[in-house]
Assembly symmetry: C2
Homo-oligomer: 194 residues x 2
Protein backbone atom coordinates (compact mmCIF):
# COMPACT_ATOMS: atom_id res chain seq x y z
CA UNK A 1 0.00 0.00 0.00
CA UNK A 2 1.16 3.50 -0.81
CA UNK A 3 -1.25 5.53 1.31
CA UNK A 4 -0.08 8.96 2.36
CA UNK A 5 1.44 9.16 5.84
CA UNK A 6 3.02 11.99 7.82
CA UNK A 7 6.64 12.38 6.87
CA UNK A 8 9.13 12.14 9.73
CA UNK A 9 11.85 14.82 9.66
CA UNK A 10 14.79 14.51 12.01
CA UNK A 11 14.85 17.33 14.55
CA UNK A 12 17.61 19.69 13.50
CA UNK A 13 20.22 20.60 16.05
CA UNK A 14 20.18 24.39 16.70
CA UNK A 15 23.05 26.13 14.91
CA UNK A 16 26.19 26.49 16.99
CA UNK A 17 26.17 30.31 16.78
CA UNK A 18 22.82 30.61 18.54
CA UNK A 19 23.86 28.34 21.38
CA UNK A 20 27.08 30.29 21.81
CA UNK A 21 25.26 33.63 21.87
CA UNK A 22 22.83 32.35 24.45
CA UNK A 23 25.64 31.08 26.60
CA UNK A 24 27.33 34.46 26.42
CA UNK A 25 24.10 36.24 27.29
CA UNK A 26 23.62 33.97 30.27
CA UNK A 27 27.19 34.49 31.40
CA UNK A 28 26.98 38.29 31.05
CA UNK A 29 23.38 38.86 32.06
CA UNK A 30 23.49 38.15 35.84
CA UNK A 31 19.78 39.04 36.15
CA UNK A 32 17.64 35.98 36.73
CA UNK A 33 16.49 34.85 33.28
CA UNK A 34 17.40 38.21 31.79
CA UNK A 35 19.89 36.92 29.25
CA UNK A 36 17.57 34.12 28.15
CA UNK A 37 14.60 36.39 27.51
CA UNK A 38 16.54 38.61 25.10
CA UNK A 39 16.38 37.64 21.44
CA UNK A 40 19.86 36.56 20.41
CA UNK A 41 22.06 39.30 18.96
CA UNK A 42 19.90 42.14 20.36
CA UNK A 43 21.93 42.64 23.52
CA UNK A 44 22.15 46.35 24.38
CA UNK A 45 25.67 47.73 24.60
CA UNK A 46 26.71 49.70 27.66
CA UNK A 47 27.05 53.42 26.87
CA UNK A 48 30.59 54.80 27.28
CA UNK A 49 31.09 55.96 30.85
CA UNK A 50 28.79 53.35 32.37
CA UNK A 51 30.27 51.06 35.02
CA UNK A 52 32.22 48.20 33.52
CA UNK A 53 33.44 50.18 30.48
CA UNK A 54 36.92 51.67 29.96
CA UNK A 55 35.47 55.21 29.95
CA UNK A 56 33.70 54.49 33.24
CA UNK A 57 36.96 53.25 34.73
CA UNK A 58 38.68 56.43 33.50
CA UNK A 59 36.03 58.61 35.16
CA UNK A 60 36.43 56.72 38.45
CA UNK A 61 40.22 57.04 38.36
CA UNK A 62 39.92 60.77 37.59
CA UNK A 63 37.56 61.23 40.55
CA UNK A 64 39.87 59.36 42.89
CA UNK A 65 42.97 61.18 41.60
CA UNK A 66 41.54 64.69 42.00
CA UNK A 67 40.01 63.87 45.38
CA UNK A 68 43.40 62.57 46.53
CA UNK A 69 45.05 65.73 45.14
CA UNK A 70 42.60 67.94 47.05
CA UNK A 71 43.27 65.92 50.19
CA UNK A 72 47.04 66.09 49.78
CA UNK A 73 47.17 69.82 49.04
CA UNK A 74 44.84 70.67 51.92
CA UNK A 75 46.65 68.40 54.36
CA UNK A 76 50.00 69.96 53.40
CA UNK A 77 48.95 73.23 55.06
CA UNK A 78 49.46 73.20 58.81
CA UNK A 79 46.47 75.39 59.74
CA UNK A 80 43.58 73.66 58.00
CA UNK A 81 42.14 72.15 61.23
CA UNK A 82 41.42 75.65 62.54
CA UNK A 83 38.69 76.11 59.92
CA UNK A 84 35.76 73.67 60.02
CA UNK A 85 35.09 73.90 56.30
CA UNK A 86 38.64 72.84 55.44
CA UNK A 87 38.46 69.88 57.83
CA UNK A 88 35.16 68.95 56.19
CA UNK A 89 36.83 69.15 52.77
CA UNK A 90 39.50 66.72 53.95
CA UNK A 91 36.83 64.31 55.25
CA UNK A 92 34.77 64.55 52.05
CA UNK A 93 37.87 64.06 49.89
CA UNK A 94 38.81 60.91 51.84
CA UNK A 95 35.29 59.52 51.41
CA UNK A 96 35.23 60.42 47.71
CA UNK A 97 38.63 58.86 47.15
CA UNK A 98 37.69 55.60 48.89
CA UNK A 99 34.35 55.33 47.05
CA UNK A 100 35.85 56.05 43.62
CA UNK A 101 38.78 53.71 44.17
CA UNK A 102 36.57 50.83 45.26
CA UNK A 103 34.32 51.33 42.22
CA UNK A 104 37.43 51.54 40.05
CA UNK A 105 38.47 48.10 41.34
CA UNK A 106 34.98 46.78 40.55
CA UNK A 107 35.33 48.22 37.03
CA UNK A 108 38.77 46.66 36.58
CA UNK A 109 37.40 43.28 37.69
CA UNK A 110 34.43 43.60 35.32
CA UNK A 111 36.77 44.53 32.45
CA UNK A 112 39.17 41.67 33.20
CA UNK A 113 36.52 38.94 33.33
CA UNK A 114 34.47 40.72 30.59
CA UNK A 115 31.33 40.91 32.71
CA UNK A 116 28.66 43.57 32.36
CA UNK A 117 27.60 45.54 35.45
CA UNK A 118 24.03 46.16 34.26
CA UNK A 119 22.59 44.40 37.32
CA UNK A 120 19.60 46.34 38.71
CA UNK A 121 20.72 46.21 42.36
CA UNK A 122 24.33 47.09 41.56
CA UNK A 123 23.28 50.09 39.47
CA UNK A 124 20.95 51.22 42.27
CA UNK A 125 23.76 51.04 44.85
CA UNK A 126 26.15 52.87 42.50
CA UNK A 127 23.59 55.64 41.89
CA UNK A 128 22.79 56.21 45.56
CA UNK A 129 26.48 56.15 46.52
CA UNK A 130 27.37 58.53 43.71
CA UNK A 131 24.57 60.87 44.72
CA UNK A 132 25.62 60.98 48.37
CA UNK A 133 29.37 61.35 47.76
CA UNK A 134 28.71 63.88 44.99
CA UNK A 135 26.55 66.03 47.24
CA UNK A 136 29.12 65.86 50.04
CA UNK A 137 32.03 66.70 47.71
CA UNK A 138 30.15 69.60 46.11
CA UNK A 139 29.17 70.92 49.53
CA UNK A 140 32.73 70.70 50.84
CA UNK A 141 34.12 72.35 47.70
CA UNK A 142 31.57 75.19 47.92
CA UNK A 143 32.18 75.74 51.64
CA UNK A 144 35.95 75.88 51.04
CA UNK A 145 35.43 78.22 48.11
CA UNK A 146 33.34 80.52 50.30
CA UNK A 147 36.08 80.66 52.95
CA UNK A 148 38.84 81.05 50.36
CA UNK A 149 37.05 83.97 48.69
CA UNK A 150 36.39 85.50 52.12
CA UNK A 151 40.08 85.30 53.04
CA UNK A 152 41.45 86.35 49.66
CA UNK A 153 38.99 88.92 48.29
CA UNK A 154 36.85 90.21 51.16
CA UNK A 155 39.38 90.42 54.00
CA UNK A 156 42.64 90.54 51.97
CA UNK A 157 44.62 88.53 54.53
CA UNK A 158 46.28 86.19 52.05
CA UNK A 159 49.71 87.23 53.32
CA UNK A 160 49.22 85.36 56.59
CA UNK A 161 47.37 82.36 55.10
CA UNK A 162 48.09 79.61 52.59
CA UNK A 163 45.69 81.05 50.02
CA UNK A 164 47.29 79.26 47.08
CA UNK A 165 46.99 75.85 48.75
CA UNK A 166 43.40 76.47 49.80
CA UNK A 167 42.46 77.57 46.27
CA UNK A 168 44.21 74.57 44.69
CA UNK A 169 42.50 72.11 47.03
CA UNK A 170 39.11 73.70 46.34
CA UNK A 171 39.68 73.56 42.60
CA UNK A 172 40.70 69.89 42.81
CA UNK A 173 37.54 69.08 44.78
CA UNK A 174 35.43 70.84 42.14
CA UNK A 175 37.15 68.91 39.34
CA UNK A 176 36.53 65.66 41.23
CA UNK A 177 32.85 66.57 41.44
CA UNK A 178 32.75 67.39 37.71
CA UNK A 179 34.17 63.92 36.98
CA UNK A 180 31.61 62.35 39.31
CA UNK A 181 28.55 64.02 37.77
CA UNK A 182 28.60 62.02 34.46
CA UNK A 183 28.92 58.71 36.35
CA UNK A 184 26.01 59.59 38.59
CA UNK A 185 23.80 60.79 35.72
CA UNK A 186 24.60 57.73 33.59
CA UNK A 187 23.90 55.34 36.47
CA UNK A 188 20.62 57.05 37.29
CA UNK A 189 19.65 57.05 33.62
CA UNK A 190 20.32 53.33 33.23
CA UNK A 191 18.44 52.65 36.49
CA UNK A 192 15.38 54.60 35.30
CA UNK A 193 15.33 53.36 31.71
CA UNK A 194 15.26 49.64 32.50
Amino acid sequence: MRASRPAVHPVEAPPAVAAQAQEQAQAQGHGEGEGVAHPRGVRMKDPPGAPGTPAGLGLRLAQAFFAAAALAVMASTNDFPSVSAFSYLVAAAILQCLWSLSLAFVDIYALLVKRSLRNAQAVCIFTIGDGITGTLTLGAACASAGITVLIGNDLNICAENHCASFETATAMAFISWFALAPSCILNFWSMASR
Copy 2:
Protein backbone atom coordinates in the same frame (compact mmCIF):
# COMPACT_ATOMS: atom_id res chain seq x y z
CA MET B 1 -28.85 27.03 -6.69
CA ARG B 2 -27.82 26.90 -3.08
CA ALA B 3 -24.03 27.05 -3.48
CA SER B 4 -22.08 28.33 -0.49
CA ARG B 5 -21.08 31.99 -0.68
CA PRO B 6 -19.23 34.33 1.68
CA ALA B 7 -21.59 35.81 4.24
CA VAL B 8 -21.64 39.61 4.41
CA HIS B 9 -21.58 41.02 7.95
CA PRO B 10 -22.23 44.75 8.39
CA VAL B 11 -19.17 46.59 9.81
CA GLU B 12 -19.88 47.35 13.44
CA ALA B 13 -19.44 50.92 14.66
CA PRO B 14 -16.73 51.14 17.39
CA PRO B 15 -18.26 51.49 20.85
CA ALA B 16 -18.62 55.06 22.13
CA VAL B 17 -16.33 54.45 25.15
CA ALA B 18 -13.32 53.64 22.98
CA ALA B 19 -13.77 56.77 20.87
CA GLN B 20 -14.09 58.90 24.01
CA ALA B 21 -10.97 57.39 25.61
CA GLN B 22 -9.02 58.00 22.42
CA GLU B 23 -10.18 61.61 22.31
CA GLN B 24 -9.07 62.08 25.90
CA ALA B 25 -5.73 60.52 25.19
CA GLN B 26 -5.27 62.82 22.22
CA ALA B 27 -6.25 65.87 24.28
CA GLN B 28 -3.90 64.94 27.13
CA GLY B 29 -1.08 63.41 25.16
CA HIS B 30 0.51 66.46 23.48
CA GLY B 31 3.20 64.23 21.95
CA GLU B 32 2.66 63.77 18.23
CA GLY B 33 0.62 60.59 17.84
CA GLU B 34 1.52 59.51 21.37
CA GLY B 35 -2.04 59.27 22.66
CA VAL B 36 -3.21 57.37 19.60
CA ALA B 37 -0.57 54.66 19.89
CA HIS B 38 -1.57 53.81 23.49
CA PRO B 39 -4.13 51.04 23.92
CA ARG B 40 -7.27 52.58 25.36
CA GLY B 41 -7.49 52.68 29.14
CA VAL B 42 -3.76 52.04 29.66
CA ARG B 43 -2.76 55.68 30.07
CA MET B 44 -0.05 56.00 32.74
CA LYS B 45 -0.92 58.29 35.62
CA ASP B 46 1.55 60.97 36.67
CA PRO B 47 3.33 60.05 39.93
CA PRO B 48 2.65 62.43 42.85
CA GLY B 49 5.19 65.23 42.76
CA ALA B 50 5.52 65.27 38.98
CA PRO B 51 4.83 68.58 37.22
CA GLY B 52 1.12 69.15 36.70
CA THR B 53 0.05 67.37 39.91
CA PRO B 54 -1.06 69.00 43.20
CA ALA B 55 1.96 67.50 45.01
CA GLY B 56 4.28 68.93 42.34
CA LEU B 57 2.66 72.35 42.78
CA GLY B 58 3.15 72.06 46.55
CA LEU B 59 6.85 71.26 46.10
CA ARG B 60 7.31 74.27 43.80
CA LEU B 61 5.54 76.59 46.23
CA ALA B 62 7.68 75.25 49.10
CA GLN B 63 10.86 75.85 47.09
CA ALA B 64 9.80 79.39 46.22
CA PHE B 65 8.68 80.16 49.79
CA PHE B 66 11.90 78.98 51.46
CA ALA B 67 14.09 80.66 48.83
CA ALA B 68 12.17 83.90 49.40
CA ALA B 69 12.58 83.45 53.17
CA ALA B 70 16.35 82.95 52.80
CA LEU B 71 16.49 86.03 50.59
CA ALA B 72 14.45 88.16 53.01
CA VAL B 73 16.37 87.10 56.13
CA MET B 74 19.75 87.60 54.46
CA ALA B 75 18.75 90.95 52.95
CA SER B 76 17.52 92.14 56.36
CA THR B 77 21.12 92.21 57.64
CA ASN B 78 22.97 95.33 56.64
CA ASP B 79 26.42 93.78 56.27
CA PHE B 80 25.79 90.87 53.92
CA PRO B 81 27.39 92.60 50.86
CA SER B 82 30.76 92.58 52.64
CA VAL B 83 30.95 88.77 52.30
CA SER B 84 30.93 87.33 48.78
CA ALA B 85 29.28 84.06 49.83
CA PHE B 86 26.30 85.88 51.34
CA SER B 87 25.86 88.00 48.21
CA TYR B 88 25.98 84.80 46.18
CA LEU B 89 23.32 83.29 48.44
CA VAL B 90 21.07 86.26 47.76
CA ALA B 91 21.59 85.90 43.99
CA ALA B 92 20.98 82.14 44.06
CA ALA B 93 17.86 82.59 46.21
CA ILE B 94 16.48 85.15 43.73
CA LEU B 95 17.11 82.76 40.82
CA GLN B 96 15.60 79.82 42.72
CA CYS B 97 12.54 81.85 43.69
CA LEU B 98 11.92 83.04 40.11
CA TRP B 99 12.38 79.55 38.63
CA SER B 100 10.13 77.84 41.19
CA LEU B 101 7.44 80.53 40.93
CA SER B 102 7.34 80.33 37.15
CA LEU B 103 7.06 76.53 37.27
CA ALA B 104 4.36 76.88 39.94
CA PHE B 105 2.38 79.05 37.51
CA VAL B 106 2.82 76.41 34.81
CA ASP B 107 1.56 73.78 37.27
CA ILE B 108 -1.45 75.91 38.21
CA TYR B 109 -2.29 76.37 34.53
CA ALA B 110 -1.93 72.62 33.90
CA LEU B 111 -4.17 71.84 36.89
CA LEU B 112 -6.81 74.39 35.85
CA VAL B 113 -7.14 73.20 32.25
CA LYS B 114 -6.51 69.55 33.34
CA ARG B 115 -3.59 69.07 30.99
CA SER B 116 -0.72 66.69 31.60
CA LEU B 117 2.86 68.02 31.42
CA ARG B 118 4.38 64.74 30.24
CA ASN B 119 5.72 66.36 27.07
CA ALA B 120 9.29 65.16 26.33
CA GLN B 121 10.70 68.63 25.63
CA ALA B 122 8.99 70.22 28.64
CA VAL B 123 10.29 67.52 30.99
CA CYS B 124 13.79 67.94 29.53
CA ILE B 125 13.72 71.71 30.14
CA PHE B 126 12.35 71.22 33.67
CA THR B 127 15.09 68.68 34.48
CA ILE B 128 17.96 70.84 33.21
CA GLY B 129 16.60 73.93 34.95
CA ASP B 130 16.08 72.03 38.20
CA GLY B 131 19.60 70.63 37.99
CA ILE B 132 21.20 74.04 37.43
CA THR B 133 19.20 75.94 40.07
CA GLY B 134 19.59 73.04 42.51
CA THR B 135 23.38 73.01 42.12
CA LEU B 136 23.56 76.79 42.52
CA THR B 137 21.30 76.80 45.59
CA LEU B 138 23.20 73.94 47.24
CA GLY B 139 26.51 75.67 46.50
CA ALA B 140 25.30 78.97 47.94
CA ALA B 141 23.88 77.27 51.03
CA CYS B 142 27.13 75.35 51.62
CA ALA B 143 29.28 78.44 51.12
CA SER B 144 27.13 80.39 53.59
CA ALA B 145 27.22 77.50 56.03
CA GLY B 146 31.02 77.44 55.81
CA ILE B 147 31.24 81.17 56.59
CA THR B 148 28.62 80.96 59.34
CA VAL B 149 30.45 78.12 61.06
CA LEU B 150 33.73 80.01 60.67
CA ILE B 151 32.25 83.10 62.32
CA GLY B 152 30.31 81.31 65.04
CA ASN B 153 32.43 78.31 66.02
CA ASP B 154 35.97 78.85 64.76
CA LEU B 155 36.47 82.58 65.40
CA ASN B 156 33.73 83.16 68.04
CA ILE B 157 32.91 86.66 66.81
CA CYS B 158 29.14 86.26 66.84
CA ALA B 159 28.81 89.26 69.14
CA GLU B 160 29.71 91.69 66.36
CA ASN B 161 27.86 89.81 63.57
CA HIS B 162 24.25 88.84 62.79
CA CYS B 163 24.92 85.14 63.35
CA ALA B 164 21.27 84.24 63.93
CA SER B 165 20.19 85.83 60.65
CA PHE B 166 23.01 84.19 58.71
CA GLU B 167 22.16 80.79 60.18
CA THR B 168 18.45 81.19 59.48
CA ALA B 169 19.08 82.23 55.87
CA THR B 170 21.43 79.28 55.37
CA ALA B 171 18.89 76.86 56.84
CA MET B 172 16.14 78.25 54.59
CA ALA B 173 18.36 77.81 51.54
CA PHE B 174 19.05 74.19 52.53
CA ILE B 175 15.31 73.50 53.01
CA SER B 176 14.62 75.03 49.60
CA TRP B 177 17.20 72.67 48.10
CA PHE B 178 15.65 69.69 49.91
CA ALA B 179 12.28 70.60 48.37
CA LEU B 180 13.90 70.93 44.94
CA ALA B 181 15.62 67.52 44.97
CA PRO B 182 12.43 65.39 44.63
CA SER B 183 11.21 67.52 41.70
CA CYS B 184 14.55 67.17 39.95
CA ILE B 185 14.80 63.41 40.54
CA LEU B 186 11.20 62.80 39.44
CA ASN B 187 11.65 64.87 36.28
CA PHE B 188 14.90 63.10 35.42
CA TRP B 189 13.30 59.73 36.08
CA SER B 190 10.33 60.43 33.82
CA MET B 191 12.69 61.79 31.15
CA ALA B 192 14.82 58.62 31.26
CA SER B 193 11.98 56.11 31.50
CA ARG B 194 10.00 57.22 28.44
